[in-house]
Amino acid sequence: MAVEETTTGQEIEDIIICRDVHKWYGSFHALKGVSTTVKPGEVVVILGPSGSGKSTLIRTINHLEQHQRGDIIVDGIELSGDIRNIDAIRREVGMVFQSFNLFPHLTVMQNITLAPTKVRHWSKSQAEEVANELLTRVGIPEQASKFPAELSGGQQQRVAIARALAMQPKVMLFDEPTSALDPEMIKEVLDVMRELASTGMTMLTVTHEIGFAREVADRVIMMDEGNIVEEAEPNEFFTNPRNERAQMFLSQIL
């Protein structure tokens, strides 16, 4: 009896469960049976060479890519072809893209308040209040009425983070959030992400920022050719990688 309770308790505790996830693009096998779980508040960094399936993996979690085999369960909701489940998961999962993908025809304020007012049906004033708080939190409260093109890359990415946070998600996905940025702007974005991690947000981050992984991550996942080849605490991963592929990857980037 007690055992069963713990097991169910364990099940509920994992906010993301991937079980044997397979993904094909045509005949190309991009994910070859990926299984992992993420606990609430955990910060997971996914590393790996390009083409290893890291982005594909986090894009399957909010169903921007459709997996063909296996289960993905987010916040207790099974990610099936059911459109209602997909929209329900997307409300709880925020995503930040490499190319920001801000809406260029809307102001910063409108970018942030769009989804809360249209999807969560908040009042405009309530959404704007939250947006202002978030803009202050990411350090650009004075840019609310500007258009995205009038901001620097780092500022745009911080707006994108605020936009995702405005939906008050339980999980944040970051798909190479600093790869399109100049070096001096990388820091301002990483600072925001660091702050976010310290508040207990569940984060899945694909990045090449080894410093960030080492300092902030609770766990590092190394992917190669559609498989998870190593999964460890950052300290252990960076100092004592067990897998040969991980050793080679680290020797190239460190």
């Binding site: 921007l64 925020g94 993908n101 025809h105 249209k118 258009f147 009038e150």
Partner: protein, 415 residues
Amino acid sequence: MASPPVSQPEGMLPPRSEVGVTGWLHANLFSNWFNSVLTLVSAALLVTGLWFGLKWIFLAADWTVISELGGRFLLGRYNTEAACEGQNCFWRPQAALIMVSVLLGAAWGLRGNRVARAVAWLVAGVSAAFAFLPYNLATMGLDVRILLLLNLPAVPLGWALAKYTPLGTGTRVTILGVAIFFITLILLRGLPGLPFLQPVSVVYWGGLSLNLILAVGGITLSLPIGIALALGRRSNLPVVKVLCVFFIEVFRGVPLITLLFMSQTLVPLAFPEDMPQNSLFRAAVVITLFSSAYMAENIRGGLQALHPGQAEAARALGLPGWQTTMLISLPQAIRNVIPAIVGQFIGLFKDTSLVYIIGMLDVVAIGRSFIQSNPEYLPSARELFVFLAAVFWIFTYGMSYISGKVEDYMGVGRR
């Protein structure tokens, strides 16, 4: 040990070739000998052209044909004895014009926009100016002139309505515009049973007002239909997709003239013989659908140019598909293809002249038939067609100009 200052004078002046009138002239007109020759030759051609053009316009040309054409130019045979059967129908198009002035005034009051103000006063001003045409009172009565002058107070009336009454929202002014369009049609067509709105058959409609009615109807409807077709063509539902592709390719693949002929000869076969036939309506439908097919492809081009990340970001935020389309994809797509859309509008406006081939007397056909039936004006054909060209150009250039302003407002190319 301070290092000696680098010898660079404060505020070093740019070379003369970079600034001022001489700089501009040098950079743009005389940068090398070939460009200098081109500049001089073009200047000579321009001056000669202007000289002969202006000389013809002001000295040689005989513009009496235009004043002889008079009201027929705007209304065709609408206000003739045959059309109205003993009644005077002149007030009906004029009431419609006053409503348009009110609408333009309301559009100005809505945003306080300079361009809207200029358009409103231009239309009302030109209309009112007709009141002072030097016809004698028998040709153009006092009542006609007063109705024309009423366009002037109509503009501030519309402005005040939009500014100070609950009418002043974009949606309501749009609804007012649509309502005015239909009221205009009813006014012109008349209602059986109402003695003061005796029906006037559409065969008597004509002149510039016919071009404008076809153009306004076509422009306002072809954009939404085109959007629907473009979205349908990109749909995942095979039936919708195939139907939209079929429609677009058929209407794009057949000349408008052929479609117009078919609308008059084939379409009536599909309806019972005793059903009232309305050739104008059928022509309007054909022109609108023809334009929609092109519009659909313009919009589709805009949709395809969008970065897929835009829709992904919207979906990732939890926006459902239709909201992603309406709030994210379409506004950006339309903004990016405004030049193509306006090009299509301009094309549609010019194509309205083609209705002459199904026997409707649009402004060009009215002019032509006037000359043919009054051979003494045959030598004036030149003046007539130059004038018609100028009229078309004023409208199409107006559309271009407004689209440029809309682009500025939407920040096309900047954000």
